[in-house]
């Protein structure tokens, strides 16, 4: 079957019930998406399916045909970091960095749906993802900062 990842079409012949996570990492070599728990609790494996944050460890390959898949590798374009990546860098959020692919993908999905979230909305959305290094304070600041970077100049947000 064909799947579309970061605007590129890939032909894959894995069994239909294989989790998307392992297809991305092991077959397409997109190791930016991480394995954490395998049961959809921790969020390390988060990618976008048609723009929605989705846990790739519990998403079967058969369910993604015809959908636009986006991974961390697809966030930056022509060497320019996505505002969320830039904000995470500016706030020096990452410690070990393992969960951060999922954190950033979740933040991007949040801001695409809600470009000017309140602190409470950031906390609600981002509480779905675990960070063992305990960088939650910086994640919260970085998501708010990314919203500011993205806000249109002269806008009221």
């Amino acid at each position: 079957m064909e799947i579309t990842v970061n605007d590129r079409i890939y032909e894959v012949d894995s069994e239909p019930d294989r989790p998307l996570l392992w297809v991305l990492r092991d077959e397409l070599g997109l190791t930016g998406t991480k394995f954490g728990c395998g049961i959809g609790i921790c969020g390390s494996c988060e990618v976008h399916l048609d723009g929605a944050a989705t846990r790739s460890c519990i998403t079967m390959l058969s369910s993604v045909e015809g959908k636009a898949i986006r991974t961390l590798e697809g966030l930056s374009s022509e060497g320019n970091l996505h505002p969320v990546q830039q904000a995470f860098l500016d706030e020096q959020v990452h410690q070990c960095g393992w969960c951060m692919s999922g954190q950033m993908m979740r933040a991007v999905a949040l801001l695409e749906e809600n470009p000017a979230p309140t602190d409470q909305e950031i906390e609600t959305a981002m509480s779905a993802n675990l960070c063992r290094c305990g960088a939650y304070g910086r994640i919260k600041r970085a998501v708010a900062r990314a919203a500011e970077i993205q806000a249109p100049a002269g806008g009221d947000s």
Binding site: S14, E15, R18, P19, W22, R25, D26, E27, G29, L30, T31, G32, T33, K34, F35, G36, C37, G38, I39, I41, C42, S44, T71, L72, E73, L75, S76, L81, Q85, F88, L89, Q92, H94, Q95, C96, G97, W98, C99, M100, S101, M104, E123, T124, M126, S127, A128, N129, L130, C131, R132, C133, G134, A135, Y136, G137, R138, I139, K140
Partner: protein
């Protein structure tokens, strides 16, 4: 730089193409083919060991090193101006590559964008003393790194003196070049010096190091060197390692803590989709497949029989780890606390702490490519030399036949230290790779990570004290029992001689100045594999001591802050503790008005010379028994801070991880098995439950840098428990302070 130093320059008699020359001051100088690169390294780092290894003493002449003496850390300067620093330290999120680069750059005088920081493989740099643990990297490398960098700079200066025809004292090192002090246009870069030099001269005199007031890089919040690759997903962790043609492996793991394999048969596994080979050797059984899910599925189909051993229950383990009886070792004794307290103790209390998992977000992982003569292993490890030793032993090879290439670690916290009592992803990948004749990647799933590693041991504490008429502590005794924190990885002969596990007793000593104080430790090995967990005994011991201090303050009718201040030693350490306590209390508004339903608690801790004071502000959902930590103010004095932003990140992380461990995390055993298998049964703190952390960084007058990764995890649990007492007048004496335990304590 004085003229005198130039006179002391000692030419290298010959310049080897590949090898190290030992300078008289114990550095290794490496000169590749003329014009290629200049390198300078530090052998081993510990002076005594370094001399033994080199067969030299300080007075001996230098000479060429044998093939086995490789540097511990080294710099390499290339003609194209790149400067590489090879480090023996694992980057697991603590920012160590950045901090060490800052220390080196301060004396080397190169610009930040010339740098490349690498974690050396076991073949690039030898030395069995490598390893990343104990918050000791900066402490141990601060002086050697600056000395090595300054020496390299002076080697370059001697050549610049020749090329620019200026006296050494008239040349200023700046941004990777020497320039004439009174004519900055007359300059030459380090790269150009390396490209043009035919003969290097090594300064043998004492090279003065900068005074801290001259620091330009040390003490600055320099951005982390590893983050650009981490925000784009390009950073390679052990789980991410890939080579052409690699396959995926999975090994069978014991289902119970004492289980031993009785027999293994391939069953249906060999015929399953994608399976390349079933490997059964001795007590090892695993599969190799074309994909990871296929390997996991085939592993489940192997037919394995186990002797499960004793069906241990949680209560049995707790009874095992108890103070009292034979085997107690006194680790602190002043005055005669025991006889005073035998007569009469004013306050006695017992504390316990549970087992905990490391729960690194990246599970154990390794890629191995092994042929008959050895091979390479890429893995996330804190101790690459031990990894190499263990893999070689498992394959019946010499250590030198294996090259371990360390990757970034997706969390460490002590779990990525190899321990022979638990399975190793590196050994599993190596065995499977050798059997199948192809590179094999083994990445554990979360269930293996929860159930087949080692855990933080149980602890038990009994504290007793007597107060005098003025409410001052006259005598105090801390009795402490713990499963092994360090000795799990030690030869039993060594463990037997020392008698107590100095890892499990971290933080167990009483830091307050009391006329009579005593600490007794019992080593209680457990049937479940136990080992190092961030801070080792620190969290449990400081929980016990600082909770007890609070109990004594209440008994004396004194404010917990004033009570602590009244018991500080009258020395430099006491001054630092006072400064930290007062700074944290002041910022937190200690003693001031709080929102309805909130209370504050205070705790203090020492670890490796780092002083920490924390104030936690909590509220309680009484019906659910859930403690919510809203705010933590931490005042931390690590002596000297290399990177204040990195330091704050470590403190914030320690406190959030410590809050998670204090409130939620517990590994329990039932019928010989670990009950939790994933984050559903082993919850970690989420953002909505995490405190806001405010950090105050203090510096000691002596200016010596000390550890930061672990010390702040000590006081958080007692600060929370003491706040709970302030709120409810009820003591929580058992970690973690789960909602069940809270409700039980409240008599709900």
């Amino acid at each position: 730089m004085s003229e005198q130093a130039t006179e002391q320059l000692d030419p290298i008699p010959e310049q080897p193409q590949d090898g190290w020359y030992i300078s008289r001051r114990g550095f290794l100088i490496g000169v590749a083919a003329t014009g290629a690169a200049l390198a300078l390294g530090i052998p081993l780092g510990l002076p005594a060991l370094r001399r033994t290894a080199a067969g030299l003493t300080e007075g001996d002449a230098g000479g060429f090193a044998s093939g086995t003496l490789d540097p511990f850390i080294w710099f390499k300067i290339y003609p194209d101006e790149r400067v590489r620093i090879y480090l023996p330290k694992a980057e697991m999120g603590q920012g160590i590559h950045t901090a060490l680069a800052q220390i080196a750059v301060e004396e080397l005088e190169v610009s930040w964008d010339q740098l490349e920081i690498l974690h050396a493989s076991t073949s690039q740099a030898d030395g069995n003393f490598r390893g990343t643990s104990g918050s000791m990297s900066v402490t141990t490398l601060y002086d050697p790194l600056r000395q090595a960098a300054a020496t390299l700079r002076e080697i370059l200066r001697a050549e610049a003196v020749r090329v620019l025809d200026q006296p050494a004292g008239n040349l200023v090192a700046h941004d990777g070049a020497f320039q004439q002090a009174d004519d900055p246009g007359n300059r030459i870069t380090y790269g150009a010096l390396v490209a043009g030099a035919t003969q290097w001269q090594i300064p043998e005199g004492e090279i003065p190091l900068k005074s801290p007031s001259e620091y330009k890089v040390i003490g600055q919040p320099v951005p982390r060197v590893d983050l650009p690759a981490k925000v784009t997903g390009q950073a390679i962790f052990g789980y991410d390692a890939r080579v052409e043609g690699m396959l995926y492996g999975a090994a069978v793991h014991p289902p119970a803590i004492e289980a031993k394999m009785r027999s293994a048969r391939p069953g249906q596994a060999a015929g399953m989709p994608g399976v390349v080979q079933v490997v059964i050797e001795d007590d090892f059984a695993g599969v190799v497949a074309r994909s990871r899910p296929q390997a996991f599925a085939a592993r489940s189909a192997l037919e394995v029989e186990w002797d499960e051993g004793h069906p241990w229950q949680q209560a049995e383990l707790e009874e095992l780890v108890s103070v009292g009886g034979r085997g107690g070792v006194s680790i602190q004794r002043e005055g005669n606390a025991l006889s005073i307290l035998k007569e009469d103790s004013t306050v006695v209390a017992e504390y316990r702490s549970g087992m905990a998992a490391h729960a690194t977000m990246e599970p154990q992982a390794a890629l191995a490519d092994i042929g008959s003569g050895g091979g390479r292993v890429w893995t996330s490890t804190q101790f690459e030399m031990n990894e190499r030793r263990d893999i070689a032993a498992a394959l019946d090879l010499e250590p030198e036949q294996i090259e371990v290439i360390p990757t970034y670690l997706g969390g460490g916290f002590g779990r990525k230290i190899p321990l022979s009592s638990v399975p190793s992803a590196g050994i599993e990948a190596a065995r499977l790779s050798r059997a199948v004749g192809a590179p094999v990647h083994v990445g554990w799933d979360r269930f293996e990570e929860m159930r087949n590693g080692f855990v933080r041991p149980l602890t038990h504490h009994r504290l007793a004290a007597r107060l005098d008429d003025q409410g001052q502590i006259e005598a105090m005794h801390h009795e402490q029992a713990s499963g092994d924190a360090l000795f799990g990885g030690f030869p039993q002969a060594v463990a037997g001689i020392v008698g107590f596990d100095f890892g499990s007793t971290r933080g167990a000593q009483i830091p307050y100045a009391l006329p009579h104080r005593e600490v007794t430790a019992w080593r209680r090995p457990m049937p479940i594999p136990t080992g190092s967990w961030r801070g080792l005994g620190l969290m449990a011991n400081i929980f016990a001591i600082e909770s007890f201090l609070d109990e004594l303050a209440a008994e004396a009718g004194m404010d917990p802050l004033q009570f602590r201040l009244a018991h500080l030693p009258e020395d430099a350490l006491g001054q630092r503790m006072r400064a930290a306590l007062e700074a944290a209390a002041s910022r937190a508004g200690w003693g001031g008005a709080l929102p309805e339903g909130r209370a504050q608690g205070l705790a203090c801790g020492l670890d490796g010379g780092t002083v920490v004071a924390e104030v936690a502000e909590i509220s309680l959902d009484t019906d659910a028994g859930r403690i919510r930590v809203h705010r933590v103010v931490a005042a931390v004095d690590p002596g000297r801070t290399i990177n204040p932003d990195g330091a704050r990140a470590q403190i914030e992380g320690s406190i959030v991880m410590g809050t998670s461990a204090a409130l939620l995390e517990e590994i329990t055993v039932k019928d010989g098995r670990i009950e939790a298998g994933n984050f559903d049964r082993y919850p970690l703190l989420r953002m909505s439950e995490a405190p806001d952390v405010e950090t105050i960084l203090l510096e000691a007058p002596d200016g010596k840098p000390r550890g930061l990764g672990e010390p702040p995890i000590g006081p958080i649990a007692p600060a929370i428990a003491n706040a709970f007492f302030a709120l409810t007048a009820v003591r929580l004496r058992h970690l973690p302070m789960t909602s069940d335990r809270v409700q039980e304590a409240l008599g709900a």
